[in-house]
């Protein structure tokens, strides 16, 4: 291919965290596909491995964080969860240090991947910094725990603005604010009040509000009823996984975290220690996440080329990894995507 018309001449450096378990294999797959597609990206690899870090050490070095902030883009494979080593959650650290305020998860049906739901095309935009995940809890008296949910105007506005901008940039027609303000009148009430205000700045995007229970029921009955959804942290966690379930699970769904001055794309599935190092992992989720990043770089033509190839390979069904019922290795599947790209260029 050529070096792309959209951002001709522009070159990007991306910080890569390959991660644990199957992380290095699926990261290598993304790198191979990018190289084959002449994507103008070079990589700055930082090993942050929960498995290798010593107790008491910070999970992510200052250098690694600065690298993402400097480059503006990061790609992260799955990381094992440190259990009982006294480490703060890695995701929480990244979210805080990189000011990742919105988590975006598009869920689009893959041709050829059969689930009870066809034609799903949904985007969850989740507030990523507060809400039920404030981490503020205390024991009032023995046997009585209070957990604090915090909703602020600032964070709500930031995520609402992002959701509408995303909808506008991606030619989507509607944004739904998901809430439970019938019960949490003040906190969720503030969230939707802010969404409503922001919606007025985007008159070409339709706006509606929906209770989380109604939304959950609508999603499973008729997913085409919804389009872009924006919501507080916990609902976003739940709804994004539900949507992933509709299209065939976390092995396929991309995820992007938007920060004040960077974007971190990631695979949301786990490290799959049972198949790590066996050339069996499905790299689709990480690859689709990296395509979100390319679109953010305004390299949409590159993203489209790769995406078409992924769809074609999955639809054909000849090369599929074990999780999708196939027998292809990670490298075979990756090569099939590359072959499709060169066949159509």
């Amino acid at each position: 291919g050529s070096s792309g018309a959209t951002a001709a001449g522009k070159h990007f450096t991306v910080t890569l965290f390959p991660g644990d378990g199957i992380g290095p294999e699926i990261s290598a797959a993304v790198q191979t596909v990018f190289a084959a597609a002449d994507v103008p990206v070079s990589w700055e690899t930082h090993e942050i491995s929960v498995e290798k870090v010593k107790p008491g050490q910070p999970l992510v070095s200052r250098g690694a964080l600065d690298s993402v902030l400097r480059n503006g883009f990061g790609l992260k494979g799955p990381m094992a969860t440190p259990v009982g080593k006294g480490h703060k959650s890695l995701n929480l650290t990244l979210r805080k240090e990189l000011a990742l305020y919105a988590n975006v998860r598009p869920c689009v049906s893959f041709p050829g991947v059969k689930t009870p739901y066809d034609g799903v095309d949904l985007v969850t935009v989740r507030e990523n910094t507060e809400g039920e995940y404030s981490g503020l809890e205390h024991v009032v008296v023995p046997g009585v725990v209070e957990s604090l949910k915090v909703i602020t105007r600032t964070a709500s506005q930031r995520v609402a603005e992002y959701a509408f901008k995303y909808a506008s940039d991606n030619k989507r027609s509607r944004v739904t604010a998901v809430h439970k303000a019938s019960v949490m009148k003040k906190s969720d009430g503030l969230f939707i009040e802010v969404c409503r205000e922001v919606s007025e700045l985007f008159p070409h995007i339709e706006y509606e509000e929906m209770l989380i229970d109604t939304c959950a029921s609508a999603l499973v009955m008729d997913p085409s009823r919804l389009d872009v959804m924006v919501m507080p942290n916990l609902y976003g966690d739940i709804v994004s996984d539900l949507c992933a379930g509709l299209i065939g699970g976390l092995g396929l769904t991309p995820s992007g975290n938007m920060g004040a001055s960077c974007m971190l794309a990631e695979a949301v599935h786990g490290t799959a220690p049972d198949i790590a190092g066996m050339n069996k992992a499905n790299p689709t989720a990480l690859l689709m996440s990296s395509l979100m990043m390319l679109r953010h770089m305004k390299l949409a033509d590159k993203a489209d080329t790769i995406e078409r190839a992924v769809h074609a390979v999955l639809k054909e069904g000849k090369y599929r990894t074990g999780d999708l019922g196939g027998t292809a290795t990670t490298t075979d599947y990756t090569q099939a995507i590359i072959d499709k790209m060169s066949a159509s260029s």
Binding site: G143, S147, L148, K186
Partner: protein, 338 residues
């Protein structure tokens, strides 16, 4: 059978609160079916529209005497400041366990088959504490309360239910990896009760994973225990994958009384008054009430009639792909009573 089940009172009366929206129509259907089935029970019906004043005194007295009620939906507008009728009932009568049953009904088209799940939701605390305040302008705090006593109580109820109904597995739904103290306490209580039921399989499952599993492999679930908000979400998903919110019953059970209703509480204002509502969930709510009162024969007769109409596709309402009116569907049920 319901743990904490009641008995038929001497007066043979139950309280009926038709509620809003589709409430009048679905409860009308329920009353007609009960009459046709010769259920030995009279309803004391209370209609009221000024929700800001709460439950009318005579309705409260009726329920205090009868200890069983059927209710329709009461919506709470997002902007309102008054406490909903739903919460007044649950709080004032301490109806702590919300039991919702969703299952695949032969003849009703749904995306995923073979489902049979009973969801037991804590109905009195959690995210529904109602304690919120604006700390400084633009910053609101909302308190989620989890207590050991109420978590133990719901876990005990769920396991007692599972044991009494020959269920094999209980899944406790939580987010204890994030809310380590609050949901952690809830999960811990479930584990403690599980230890007293070694013949019932027990597992914990994170709420986001639960929702993903619900849309991919819902057959794995049997009985679930859920804190309040997760219960609200998961019951709606379960009803949705089994055909819709209008199909399944729910009960709110306390130490001394119970209120029965459609499992997914929606007032259906969009179709109210159009003779389109599906009364199945409400009628099956009535069947739950009959089982609670140990009127098993009447319960079986009505349930069988409903299932035969749905399975034989005799008549069905628009929400499940038919064109029958509420009244025609109700007549079909009545004609299938044996």
């Amino acid at each position: 059978p319901f743990p904490l089940g009641g008995t038929l009172n001497q007066m043979r009366t139950a309280t009926l609160l038709p509620g809003e929206g589709i409430g009048e129509e679905v409860n009308g259907a329920l009353v007609d079916v009960f009459e046709a089935a010769d259920v030995p029970l009279e309803f004391e019906t209370f209609r009221f529209s000024n929700f800001e004043d709460g439950l009318p005194q005579d309705a409260i007295k009726s329920f205090q005497k009868n200890l069983v009620a059927i209710k329709g939906p009461f919506t709470t507008p997002v902007q309102s400041t008054y406490t909903s009728i739903n919460i007044l009932l649950r709080r004032d009568f301490d109806l702590f366990a919300n039991v919702v049953h969703a299952y695949s009904i032969p003849g009703v088209k749904s995306r995923l088959g073979g489902v049979d799940v009973v969801m037991i939701r804590e109905n009195t605390e959690g995210e529904y504490s109602g304690m919120e305040h604006e700390a400084v302008p633009g910053v609101v705090e909302s308190l989620k309360i989890i207590t050991e006593s109420r978590s133990m109580r719901i876990a005990q109820y769920a396991f007692a239910y599972a044991a009494a109904n020959n269920r094999k597995k209980v899944t406790a739904v939580h987010k204890a990896n994030i809310m380590k103290s609050g949901d952690g306490l809830f999960l811990d209580c479930c584990k403690r009760v599980a230890a007293e039921y070694p013949h019932i399989e027990f597992e914990g499952m994170i709420v986001d994973n639960t929702c993903m599993q619900m849309v991919s492999r819902p057959q794995q679930f049997d009985v679930m225990i859920l804190p309040n908000l997760y219960g609200n979400i998961v019951t709606n998903i379960a009803a949705g994958i089994c055909g819709g919110p209008g199909l399944f019953p729910g009960a709110n059970i306390g130490e001394t009384g119970a209120v029965f209703e459609q499992g997914a509480r929606h007032s259906g204002l969009d179709i109210a008054g159009k003779n389109k509502a599906n009364p199945t969930g409400q009628i099956l709510g009535g069947v739950m009430m009959l089982r609670y009162l140990q009127l098993t024969k009447h319960a079986d007769a009505i349930e069988n009639a409903v299932m035969r109409v749905l399975e034989g596709n005799k008549a069905r309402t628009p929400d499940i792909g038919g064109s029958a009116t509420t009244t025609d569907y109700t007549k079909a049920i009545i004609s299938h009573l044996e």
